[in-house]
């Protein structure tokens, strides 16, 4: 299996504040890879270096075996599509127009979208179940619908890798599972590598092949969900006590928050942890 993304010794700081500190890891093609970690751990900065929006001060990023600097903007967009944390909401374009914009890295300056591009947009819209919204304007959609539109836009870009920054953060439960299932299907059917940032450890555990746990810009743990999501590792990374047991629907760890009042009532002796 080939390497989709290789990050070597990546460091970056904003002013004096260091946000990434010698981060190294690689992601295989077709992998579902989820980056977790507390606020300010450098997740979004890491995503921005992968998408080419940010040039890190030190270290290398290789996409599909080539250094990221060797790609032109358009060539990179043909390999990596990004769904940002807060996609624009107040744009008066229709859903179909937004999804079709995903074709632009494949088109020259003068070219217009051809039948093939329209078909790809249709397909992307039906994949994310937004085809019934095609004629609706983006500013008339709910947050969940809009998120699915931007995922469709990323699919329409026909990339090898899709990078998502907390795509489920503002969604209700049904939409969360819908987006995650969708990404899972993309990975299975289209062999697209999925790299995503998430705050939801339980969703991450159920879908990820591997997890990367960041804290203060450094790698705390990297591996399969059952290797990363342990009581000790999580307490070290998040600085709070979490209960870890087995998820009843899938053989992966399940993480539960413990309120302070229960902690004081002798939670430790109760569970033996």
């Amino acid at each position: 299996m080939k390497t989709a993304l290789a990050v070597k010794d990546l460091s970056h700081s904003y002013g004096r504040r260091s946000v990434l500190n010698a981060v190294s890891f690689s992601v295989q093609e077709g992998e579902f890879f989820i980056i977790i970690g507390p606020n300010g751990s450098g997740k979004t900065t890491l995503v921005r270096t992968i998408s080419g929006s940010l040039r890190p001060q030190r270290g290398q990023t290789e996409i599909l075996g080539c250094p990221i600097g060797s790609y032109s903007g358009k060539a990179l967009a043909r390999s990596v599509a990004v769904v940002t944390q807060t996609p624009p909401a107040d744009i008066p374009f229709t859903v179909a127009e937004v999804v079709l914009m995903g074709r632009s890295p494949h088109l020259s300056l003068l070219a217009v979208e051809k039948r093939k591009d329209l078909q790809l947009a249709e397909r992307a819209m039906s994949f994310t179940n937004v085809q019934h919204l095609a004629g609706r304007r983006l500013d008339q959609l709910s947050a969940g619908e809009r998120q699915r539109v931007f995922v469709a836009r990323a699919i329409c870009q026909q990339p090898r890798i899709i990078v998502l920054d907390e795509p489920t953060a503002s969604l209700d439960l049904a939409h969360q599972i819908h987006v995650m299932d969708l990404l899972e299907r993309l990975r299975m059917d289209e062999k697209i590598t999925i790299i995503m940032v998430s705050h939801d450890l339980n969703l991450a555990a159920m879908y990820a092949d591997r997890l990367l746990l960041l804290k203060a810009g450094g790698v705390v743990s990297l591996g399969k969900p059952e290797e990363v999501l342990t009581f000790q590792t999580l307490e070290r990374a998040y600085g709070c006590v979490l209960l870890v047991d087995e998820n009843p629907v899938k053989k992966v760890p399940r993480v539960t928050l413990v309120p302070n009042s229960i902690m004081q009532a002798g939670f430790r002796s109760l569970t033996g942890q």
């Binding site: 998408s51 903007g73 060539a75 632009s104 217009v112 095609a134 004629g135």
Partner: protein
């Protein structure tokens, strides 16, 4: 807004349909602009002159071709440029209040022009040159203020432009307060925008300079669409978010400057025509660039026609008409679209 979903039609057909519609409007406006004016004539004579039978009506022919044609052409070019300028700045700065003068061009060119007028220069090339120099100087100043090490922030650009314009406005007031003779009238006409100084040679020169600018902006229409999605997302879709905004900014400022130095500060067209056309045809810039060129041209020809035919003697500055007609029209459309 519209009953049919825009995505149902391929973009080329929509561009063609909108261009044909507005092109027709432009031809009608141009015809009206050529045929109506202060001198007495009937429609048959006009048609004969327009058909090329100049020898039958030598006086009328000379009025139509030597006086009215350059004026109609100038109005068309100015209307197109200002509408397009407003469109680009509204997209680039993602601010609905952006207008073609937002980069400080109005203030700088006005100071330049007023100095030219006070020095007793002729409108062309003297005052025009001073106005152009003034606008380029303020543009440079605004870019200098707004540029930081990393990149240009759109809020900083807007603020810098507004501040430079405000500073220039005080200089303008100062210069006006010092002026009491007939030059005051020239200054006020310049500040309100005036198309009466047109001549054929000058207008053709303007056209040669403007057409390449229009072409560049049309070619950048799709990147402009994508820039609306925000810089980060545009970059992720392969748009060069440093180069393309800079090209848009410089080309637009240049074309607005060369227009302003010929005609003065024609207000309102550049602010409202893009909004009006966006309400009618949607947000796609591949459609809006040609729509602004054709629609803006037609609109200013008609406004200029009113400006020179409404007063029984002389004429009023066309800048008075553009807002007087345009503002109510826009408010009407805005209310319609909200329902």
């Amino acid at each position: 807004m519209k009953a049919t979903a825009p995505h149902a039609y391929p973009i080329l057909k929509r561009i063609l349909a909108v261009s044909l519609l507005l092109g027709l409007l432009l031809i009608i406006s141009a015809f009206l602009g050529l045929s109506m004016g202060s001198s007495e004539q009937n429609i048959r004579q006009i048609l004969a002159v327009l058909a090329g039978h100049a020898d039958q009506y030598p006086t009328l022919s000379s009025i139509v071709w030597r006086i009215r044609l350059p004026r109609v052409l100038l109005a068309a070019l100015v209307g197109a440029t200002l509408s397009l300028g407003g469109l680009v700045f509204q997209a680039l700065l993602r601010n609905p209040l952006a207008e073609p003068y937002i980069m400080g061009i109005s203030g700088g060119s006005a100071v330049g022009a007023i100095i030219g007028i006070l020095l007793g220069m002729s409108p062309f090339p003297g005052v025009a040159f001073f106005a152009f120099a003034g606008s380029m100087a303020t543009l440079l100043l605004v870019l200098l203020i707004a540029s930081t090490r990393s990149a240009m922030k759109k809020e900083t650009l807007i603020l810098a432009g507004v501040m430079v314009n405000a500073f220039c406005a005080s200089v303008i007031m100062f210069l006006i307060s010092l002026t009491q003779d007939s030059r005051l009238h020239n200054i006020l006409f310049w500040l309100m925008g005036d198309l009466s100084m047109s001549n054929t040679h000058q207008t053709l020169m303007l056209m040669v300079a403007l057409l390449p600018c229009f072409t560049v902006l049309f070619l950048l229409a799709r990147p402009m669409n994508i820039l609306l999605m925000g810089e980060e997302m545009a970059a992720n879709m392969g748009v060069d978010v440093r180069l393309i905004p800079l090209v848009l900014l410089l080309v637009t400022s240049f074309m607005v400057s060369i227009v302003v130095c010929h005609t003065g500060l024609l207000g309102f067209v550049g602010l409202v025509m893009p909004h009006l056309l966006r309400l009618l045809f949607g947000p796609d810039h591949r459609l809006l660039v040609p729509a602004c060129i054709l629609g803006g041209a037609a609109y200013l020809i008609l406004c200029d026609l009113l400006a020179r035919s409404l007063p029984s003697q002389g004429e009023m500055p066309v800048g008075v008409i553009t807002a007087m007609v345009g503002a109510p029209l826009f408010i009407l459309l805005l209310r319609r679209s909200r329902q």
